[in-house]
């Protein structure tokens, strides 16, 4: 799937129509910017995420934007621009960890459950349904309490958010993969493998798995935004990551609440925009990829009459 998408992408960008093309392009640009910022964070940021002073002494609290601090400083005296840039790293980290924790078990369980069926399948489907009933944020708060007693380090905060996201996503991957596996299981090529005498494990891994995971890239671009929102939500509620362990947008927003009423705009807007743009970017990218993968959603209008070889498809 990823391959097909990669092959279609350039063509799509050139020939796609109006709104869909704009969506996909915006998504690509925003996500690209986000990933670049995260990777190049240490080079881009003028200061460290927990830096309070430089050669000229303390930065000072709630400083207006100026040459030394393009976006000013927070109430705690951190440089806002640096915090925001470093925050992208944390956000990327949560996406990677949460996806790894949910994609792998979700896919394996879905594969086994869908292919083998029977009692195991019923049990797993029941469990997945039960997991849906938990509100993810509540779960995340619980996790963070369990992992690090509330106020947490980078590992604790990330772990809590990642686990809670994983718990709510595993059922999604599980269901999608299971449904696909059940469809693929009925295809003649699986029968062909069974007739040969292929064992169930080999059929699952060689014939079924790769034919069943084609929609996953689309789900995880959409889920990535959920992961960021959960971490930000935790931070905003005060269960996130301590400011001296990592920069985290949700925490910064929480600290900026009081500033807003005092007319200090520069502490709230940058981390807020970080969250909004990242979530928007991944969501748009996900939607764009969905359109790309589904030929029914691709609209084509009248073609230039270029004779090429190959026959039309009738019957």
């Amino acid at each position: 799937m990823a391959l097909v998408l990669a092959r279609r992408l350039p063509l799509r960008l050139r020939t796609g129509a109006g709104v869909q093309r704009a969506m996909l392009l915006t998504g690509l640009v925003l996500t690209g910017l986000f990933v670049l910022t995260a990777l190049l964070g240490p080079l881009l940021a003028p200061h460290g995420y927990a830096q309070l002073r430089d050669g000229g002494g303390l930065f000072g609290s709630q400083q207006h934007p100026s040459g030394a601090h393009p976006l000013g400083t927070t109430i705690s005296g951190y440089d806002v621009l640096s915090r925001t840039v470093w925050g992208a790293r944390t956000a990327l980290l949560i996406i990677v960890v949460a996806l790894l924790l949910s994609v792998v078990p979700g896919t394996v369980l879905g594969l086994v459950s869908g292919y083998l069926g029977g009692k195991l399948d019923r049990l797993l489907v029941g469990l997945a349904d039960a997991l849906y009933a938990f509100p993810p944020l509540l779960l995340a708060i619980l996790m963070s309490l369990v992992i690090s007693g509330g106020r947490s380090s980078l590992v604790g905060g990330l772990g809590a958010a990642a686990c809670s996201v994983a718990v709510s996503f595993i059922p999604q991957y599980f269901r999608v993969v299971r449904a696909e596996v059940i469809r693929v299981k009925g295809e003649p090529f699986v029968d062909a493998a069974r007739v040969i005498g292929t064992g169930p494990w080999r059929i699952m891994t060689r014939h079924v798995l790769r034919n069943s995971v084609r929609t996953l890239p689309l789900i995880f671009t959409i889920n990535a935004s959920e992961a960021i929102l959960t971490l930000a939500g935790l931070g905003f509620l005060g269960f996130g990551i301590e400011p001296n362990s990592a920069a985290e947008w949700g925490y910064d927003l929480n600290r900026a609440v009081a500033d807003v009423t005092a007319g200090i705009w520069w502490t709230a807007i940058p981390p807020g925009l970080g969250i909004v743009l990242t979530v928007l970017g991944t969501t748009l990218l996900g939607e764009g990829l969905t359109d790309l993968a589904d030929p029914r959603l691709r609209r084509r209008t009248g073609a230039p009459t270029l004779p090429t070889d190959g026959g039309g498809d009738d019957d």
């Binding site: 029968d191 069974r194 040969i196």
Partner: protein, 556 residues
């Protein structure tokens, strides 16, 4: 007489990701009132696209040039469907030309009654007067197309009708608006052969009783011979030959037409030269006695008995043909032997050993080869052809090593006359016939003693079918495997099988040597089956219609 339909220089291109693909390239056709014009050709020849353009049913991705003129038959056809405004096009549809689709179960909306759908067209064109009058008209039309008990049937839903009755209802819908022209796109392809005969008879009546012209799209030469007045042969978007039906069959002018006609298996012209030298004393490859297969029903419902007490045997080196209509249980028997479907009762012996029930990995695996109906879906789309063919070797004979397995896969490709270069292609890069050859290669990879072929040629075009059947016959003689050949096509079975078993609703209707069963059938059902098969020869087919009983017996 003036024409009902005239197509002039029709060009249709489809936009795809890789640029425009031409489907129809300069077609000229005309249909006179009361005439049946058959448009024949293989898949991809553009016949369906041509037919759909008559009703303006092409998708948005199509670019059309040329003219498609429709008329009422009283004056020169003057209205161009391609340039007609949407409202006028709606008015033309149904009254000037109507469509009968291939699959009647999808052409009818499952949530409305037959009568409602029949009167839908009348309502759309503002005809038929009051509701009661329209209903009476619907009953009348259902009666005219031969649906029994039309007054009750009019309130039935599509799923309560059989496939043939549904197709009759679709034809009634077309006729109810007094259409002058019916465009029938493969109207009998999805139907069983006995039902096909009934629908063909009805289409005959459309012309004689109602004077309707028919534009018939089909790939089946038997249907053409049965129904058509004139034939247009299409190939790669162009009409290569147009002639009256008898002339075309008697003296085809274009080389492609000759090739097409030569490839059609002629039923009743004798098949294999007598039974193979089967050793009667030798152990049976398959012996079934009282075989029963049930499909479990839903909770609290009774299951469905697909195979009901069937006994037969296959000797080494023998090809057994298993024929029957859909639902007769022929595929289920093949699947049961291969271990894909569980046996409910009776005895099934393979290679002298009873097939144990619920064995997770049957010991027979590797000794049976299986060729599937649809070559497009029986290959894992993500593996290359060589990898797919090598799968049986990798599973059962891993000790050979990767190089030896690859070498064997390539020699298998050669055995089925596929170039070695195809080894690294993916299934979608091969044509249907090539894929089915690869399927044969995979089935033969382990040199099985038994090959099960489940409708191996029914998804293929007729010229490709002939080549695949020839290959099958050659390999069978060469390698001497026994085979169970499942098919609904009597002409194909006659060509390949030594003995035939005729199945009817899960039971054996008749069994015996091919020439005997198909040549002089004793059983009532077999007789009907043979009689219903349209022969690809308009002269003989016309004679068969007049004297169905005598001519129904093949080979006379």
């Amino acid at each position: 007489m003036t024409d009902l339909l005239r197509i002039e220089e029709l060009h249709v291109d489809f936009a795809t990701d890789t640029g425009a693909v031409p489907a129809v390239r300069g077609v000229n056709l005309s249909v006179a009132p009361g005439e049946v014009l058959a448009l024949v050709g293989e898949s991809g020849s553009g016949k369906t696209v041509t037919a759909r353009s008559v009703l303006g049913l092409l998708p948005d991705t199509a670019t059309v040039r040329g003219r498609v003129l429709l008329g009422a038959g009283t004056s020169e056809p003057g209205e161009d469907v391609l340039t007609a405004p949407a409202a006028r096009l709606r008015a033309l549809r149904g009254t000037h030309a109507a469509m009968v689709f291939q699959e009647p179960s999808t052409a009818l909306n499952p949530v409305f009654t037959i009568g409602w759908q029949l009167t839908e067209g009348l309502r759309a064109h503002g005809r038929g007067g009051s509701k009661a009058e329209r209903r009476a008209l619907a009953v009348d039309w259902l009666d005219k197309v031969g649906i029994p008990d039309p007054a009750t049937r009019v309130d039935h839903y599509p799923h309560q009708l059989s496939g043939g009755q549904k197709q009759r209802a679709v034809i009634a819908m077309a006729l109810a608006l007094d259409t002058r022209l019916i465009v029938a796109d493969e109207p009998t392809t999805a139907l069983d052969v006995t039902v096909q005969a009934e629908i063909l008879e009805l289409l005959h009546r459309c012309r004689t009783d109602f004077g309707t012209a028919v534009l018939l799209i089909t790939h089946n030469m038997g249907v053409v011979a049965d129904l058509a007045d004139r034939v247009a042969v299409m190939r790669a978007g162009q009409v290569v030959e147009q002639a009256p039906v008898r002339d075309l069959f008697a003296a085809p002018a274009h080389p492609y037409t000759r090739k097409l006609l030569a490839a059609v298996p002629h039923f009743g012209t004798g098949g294999r030269a007598g039974p193979q030298t089967a050793d009667v004393q030798a152990q049976h490859v398959v012996r079934a006695s009282g075989l029963v297969v049930d499909y479990p029903g839903r909770l609290g419902r009774k299951g469905f008995r697909a195979v009901d007490g069937v006994s037969f045997e296959i000797r080494p080196g023998e090809v057994l043909g298993l024929v029957g209509e859909s639902g007769s249980g022929k595929t289920t028997i093949g699947r049961a032997i291969a271990g894909l479907t569980a046996v409910t009762g009776g005895q099934l012996e393979l290679f002298g050993e009873p097939l144990t029930r619920n064995s997770r990995k049957p010991r027979t695996a590797g000794r049976i080869g299986y060729v599937f109906q649809d070559p497009a879906t029986s290959f894992n789309p993500l593996l290359t052809i060589a990898e797919s063919i090598a799968e049986p070797l990798v599973v059962h004979r891993r000790e050979l090593g990767a190089q030896e397995i690859r070498a064997q896969a390539e020699s298998l490709l050669e055995a089925v006359r596929l170039p070695r270069a195809y080894a690294d292609r993916y299934p979608h890069e091969l044509s249907g016939g090539q894929r089915q050859r690869a399927g044969l290669a995979r089935a033969l990879a382990l040199r099985p003693r038994l090959l099960i072929a489940d409708e191996p040629t029914s998804a293929l075009d007729v010229s490709v079918q002939a080549k695949v059947l020839d290959l099958f016959g050659e390999l069978q003689r060469e390698l001497g495997f026994a085979a169970l050949f499942v098919s609904h096509d009597l002409a194909v079975v006659e060509q390949v099988a030594d003995r035939v078993v005729v199945l009817h609703r899960g039971r054996i209707a008749e069994e015996g040597p091919t020439s005997q069963v198909l040549g002089s059938p004793q059983d009532d059902y077999t007789r009907r089956l043979v009689a219903a098969l349209p022969v690809p020869d308009p002269v003989r087919q016309a004679r068969r219609q007049q004297h169905p009983v005598e001519e129904g017996v093949a080979g006379s």
